[in-house]
Amino acid sequence: MEDIRAYIESGILELYVLGDVSPAEKQQVDDAASKYPEVKAELDAIETAMESYALVQAIEPSEQQRDRVLNSLLVNLGDDRTFTKGRAHSDIDDKIIPMQPRTGINFYKYAFAACLFLLLVSIAALVSIYNRLQQSNELISSLQDQNQRFSSQVNLMDEQISVFRDPSFRFIKLKGTPKTPASAITVAWSPSKKKVMIDMADLKLPENDQQHQYQLWAIVAGKPVDLGLFDAKTKSDTSGMKEMKSVEAPQAFAVTLEPRGGSVNPTMEAMIVMSAI
């Protein structure tokens, strides 16, 4: 009994009421209070005194506080303060771990993924369109090429037709010499325009090798005059009329086979065709 008296007098019960005891001391006081009615009564008296002390210095909060507080109790789900603040002093709900808001992070994650996806799609589209553009460009350039070929061919043919239509042209058939009886070419000559042309399509000459070329001559006043070089191919030649050097008043035309690059004077032994006018 003396022990209880001393326990009460020690001041531990006051500290208990003020919340200033360790968990072990708290347990001790709880046990003592349930065991000894004197301790319980003493605790009650201390609590009542502190409650009265608070009551004496009570201050009415302003009238609107009542609604504010009661609203936050009865519909307090919307009040962040209910949940977010951690309290170092509290011993009641310290274990509450606030949830981390993750929606923001998720949003950026998805946005980034979407951006990446769009980027890949764009790159793929770009590559495919670039390929098609290349193909189109190739097609256009090949068409342009063809177009140019056609138009130049048309020009050439126009020119040839104009030669055939021009009444001033005379067509001279050069026949083979006894050495080359199968050879023959056609030379077109316009005395008024002083133009000489060879019909390449009508060439009947053996094909020349890399070292030799055919040379066309005109005999003017008994002397041979160089009218230019040409090649003969067995394949059908599409180059049409080939214009040679101009000449005035020729007496005859002749073709000789000369070393590549031509000669100043014709090699008479190598004469292939000839014709007088």
């Binding site: 006051e14 201050i59 909060p61 507080v69």
Partner: protein
């Protein structure tokens, strides 16, 4: 001195109140507020000394009481003791928080005059006259120890350090102060 037209206050016995709070009844919440808001607010304001912040803490206190009411058990003591400790802890946390310290610094700069006026008003509040008389009966050393522990949140160990007295003396003085209060009521 308060507003004249007041709504009638709801009052229940402690047993009825506790039962109502357990069942989370609206009436119990209203009774809780009507019965204890003034006492709790007095303690909170005494600690914080700033009305807007004290009102915030009062709200937090009631929210916490309401939400963790299952943690209270009547065998462990009076309801008020449990509640006032929640209020004191919240208020002391508030005073020690960085926010609050910054806020009061700002007030010193911006609102100097009115802030000081408010403080003076608090000191001369008529409701506190009774308290002043009461506190006069306490010896100065009893008052200072009660202030440190009850209103400043010191543990008795810290208070012994602050006052430069042995731990046993702090406990004795605290007990004497409360004994003195008990005689008054």
């Amino acid at each position: 001195m308060q507003a004249v037209s007041r709504r009638p206050k709801i009052s229940l016995t402690e047993e009825e109140l506790i039962r109502g709070l357990r069942h989370r009844e609206k009436l119990a919440a209203e009774a809780l507020y009507d019965m204890y808001s003034a006492s709790l607010y007095g303690v909170i304001l005494r600690i914080i000394n700033d009305e807007p912040s004290a009102e915030d803490v009062l709200q937090e206190t009631f929210i916490k009481i309401w939400q963790s009411f299952s943690a209270y058990s009547a065998e462990k003591g009076r309801l008020f003791t449990w509640m006032v400790n929640i209020a004191r802890n919240l208020a002391i946390d508030k005073v020690r928080s960085k926010d609050f310290k910054n806020q009061t610094k700002n007030q010193e700069l911006e609102n100097n005059v009115t802030f000081i006026d408010e403080q003076r008003n608090t000191v001369y509040k008529p409701e506190l006259l009774g308290l002043k008389d009461l506190v006069q009966t306490l010896k100065p050393e009893q008052r200072s120890i009660l202030d440190l522990v009850y209103f400043k949140g010191y543990t008795h160990v810290e208070a012994a350090d602050e006052l430069g007295v042995p731990l046993g003396t702090v406990k004795t003085r605290l007990r004497m102060a409360i004994q003195q209060l008990r005689k008054q009521f």
